[in-house]
């Protein structure tokens, strides 16, 4: 073993002499630090699309630093981003502690934190009111599930919800969804299930099929990679699935009713653009809700073709009511 150590240190000393910093580009450099990794087809991918769009349109230098949900990666990735980039966009509530700790040490760097509020000098926070869009999804699902004239519904007042793991952010989706459904019809029953993991589509499919056999014909999935199992189940057993975060209609054009969209990409793009235009304000808290199209529903063509007009009318009414504050949407985080 001693030998290994010795050789290791020789290599180390060798390289130490040759090292120099690699970054020298003059223009704006933006880092996207994400708690998980790309490929979730929803949250992270959406923010990444915003970054790619900014890179193309605005000519910035951009880079993604994924942490792969390993807490040991949070700090080094955050520091690497802060040391080498002008603007650091942080996506994922898991990173909140790290951000609070790192940001004050790099006063020159602009931080954008997505999904929660960080009250540190130069951090700009963006909150998404996913409960509002979930409310609309719930309302839509409740209206459709009891219709006789809508395809693939069984008339029973049962809808479903499949989450990846059971914790607060996911519950925030659920609470809006439930409230929306009960707003339309208090008798609608919502079956909920959690996969216990974000990369287990097989179990997710089982849960979805189980709910389907309990009468659920519209199932909302907030389950990352596992959610694909719900969509797969929808295709096989012929029911509707509701996508999450990104417009997921393309995954199953005939079975995705709608997607509860969180326009993280837009927010990312907006911040970068603001910065370049000089309108960027440090320390602001932006709320992306239904009113400013930060969240919303993306409707699939099949659904629009079949949906009765009164449903659409009612949905628009609900949207307006949320914006005007006539409907108060509950949040799972309200209890503090």
């Amino acid at each position: 073993m001693k030998k290994v150590v010795a050789l290791f240190f020789v290599t180390f000393l060798f390289t130490l002499g040759m090292y120099s910093t690699a970054f020298s580009a003059p223009h704006m450099k933006v880092a996207l630090v994400i708690a998980g990794e790309l490929g979730d087809k929803s949250f992270y991918d959406s923010s990444y699309q915003g970054l790619v769009r900014a890179e193309k349109d605005l000519g910035i230098y951009a880079k993604v630093l994924p942490c792969k949900t390993d807490p040991a990666n949070y700090m080094p990735q955050m520091i690497a981003a802060s040391m080498n980039f002008n603007m650091v966009i942080v996506v994922g509530y898991e990173l909140i502690d790290t951000l609070k700790q790192v940001a004050p040490q790099f006063p020159k760097v602009d931080y954008v934190y997505i999904d929660d509020v960080v009250k540190a000098g130069q951090v700009t926070s963006i909150i998404f009111k996913q409960n509002e869009s979930s409310f609309m999804a719930g309302a839509l699902a409740a209206m459709l599930t009891e219709r006789k004239d809508f395809p693939m519904v069984n008339g029973e007042k049962v809808i479903g919800f499949v989450g990846g793991e059971d914790y607060s952010v996911i519950r925030d989706f659920l609470i809006g969804y439930e409230q929306g459904a009960h707003y339309v019809d208090p008798e609608v029953k919502i079956l909920t299930g959690y996969v216990g993991g974000w990369d287990d589509p097989a179990t997710a499919k089982e849960i979805a099929l189980d709910q389907f056999h309990h009468g659920a014909d519209i199932i909302f999935q907030v389950a990352g990679g596992s959610g694909l199992g719900v969509i797969d189940a929808a295709k096989q057993a012929h029911f509707w699935a509701i996508g999450v975060d990104s417009p997921q209609g393309y995954l199953a054009p005939n079975n995705i009713l709608t997607s509860v969209v969180k326009n993280v990409g837009n927010a990312v793009y907006d911040m970068i653009k603001d910065k370049l235009n000089g309108t960027y304000k440090r320390g602001t808290i932006y709320t992306y809700g239904i009113s400013n199209n930060g969240v919303g529903l993306s409707y699939s063509k099949v659904m629009l073709k079949n949906v009765p007009a009164d449903v659409i009318r009612k949905l628009i009414q609900i949207r307006t009511d949320i914006i005007t504050g006539k409907i108060k949407v509950k949040s799972y985080f309200d209890r503090k």
Binding site: Y194, D199, E206
Partner: protein, 292 residues
């Protein structure tokens, strides 16, 4: 009633690697690399089925991929006599990383891949069976293959010379070697059988039960299989009981979620069941021994 179908589906995904693991354990090798082999098979099943639009090719690709992992495992563990746990776990990590890289370089996507060009392993519709419809109809071909394989295993185990040799290799390989039959060869054969079974299991996961590949989608099923195999310790009945209990408790847990039980608690069910069974088994045999 749906819990029955759901149990069958869960079971199939575990039963094949359990069977495979039982073959290799009979021959004296505990196979730790099931998880990795299953994942690789799942990926290559999608690849084969996608390229050729044929589930047969998917199955073939899956088996070949599983074979690759299994042969590496066998070489390190049989020929080099390396620590099975290290090699097994290393191969599991290898499979996870490799499939992510391949997903990106072959399909150009991250995280998951699905396409309408993937042909799924078909389900068998046996015609109208009346009250038996819910029990027998529309199960995937793999489900029937699995049931056949369980019976086949039992047959080979008790009624063929190969079964005899397999057990001999596990119990006392020198005795087999001196009888002129290479125990190394027998062990490799058991590994090959395992590779085929795990290959089918992987294919069932990605192009049978589902029609997509997602990174790490084997989600611990290989490990459960390993645990069941260790639990059964070569005993066909006990292993089967453990597997079925696990599959049933898993399905039950999922079903109970629909009745409002907390998921983090229902997800514990299968593990609690196996733990209880283990303790029962242990205490029982201890008592028997005490009594004399």
């Amino acid at each position: 009633m749906y819990i029955y179908r759901s149990t069958i589906a869960t079971l199939t995904m575990i039963m094949l690697p359990v069977l495979g693991g039982m073959w290799t354990l009979q021959a004296g090798i505990l196979n730790i690399s099931q998880e990795g082999a299953m994942l690789m098979a799942a990926f290559f099943a999608v690849l084969g089925s996608y390229i050729f639009s044929s589930f047969w090719m998917g199955l073939l690709f899956a088996i070949l991929a599983s074979l690759m992992i299994n042969i590496i495992y066998a070489f390190f563990c049989i020929n080099l006599r390396a620590n099975i746990w290290v090699i097994g776990m290393a191969l599991n990590i290898l499979a996870s990383s490799l499939t992510i890289l391949l997903l990106k370089s072959v399909f150009g996507v991250k995280g998951s891949f699905t396409s309408s060009k993937i042909q799924q392993i078909p389900s068998l519709h046996l015609g109208n069976l009346g009250p038996l419809n819910a029990f027998l109809n529309d199960f995937s071909l793999v489900v029937w293959i699995t049931i056949g394989l369980v019976l086949f295993f039992k047959y080979v185990d008790t009624h063929t010379t190969f079964g005899l040799h397999l057990k001999a290799a596990g119990k006392n390989w020198q005795a087999l070697d001196t009888a002129g039959i290479s125990s190394t060869l027998i062990r490799y054969e058991s590994i090959l059988i395992n590779a085929v079974l795990v290959g089918i299991a992987g294919a069932y996961l990605s192009i049978g039960y589902l029609k997509l590949f997602n990174k790490d989608m084997s989600a611990g099923r290989g490990w459960i299989a390993v645990a069941a195999v260790i639990f059964g310790d070569g005993n066909f009945t006990w292993t089967l009981i453990a597997t079925i209990a696990f599959g049933f408790m898993d399905a039950l847990g999922i079903s109970l979620q629909s009745y409002g039980l907390n998921s983090n608690l229902t997800l514990m069910f299968p593990y609690l069941a196996i733990t209880a069974a283990l303790i029962y088994q242990g205490v029982r045999s201890y008592r028997l021994k005490e009594k004399g």
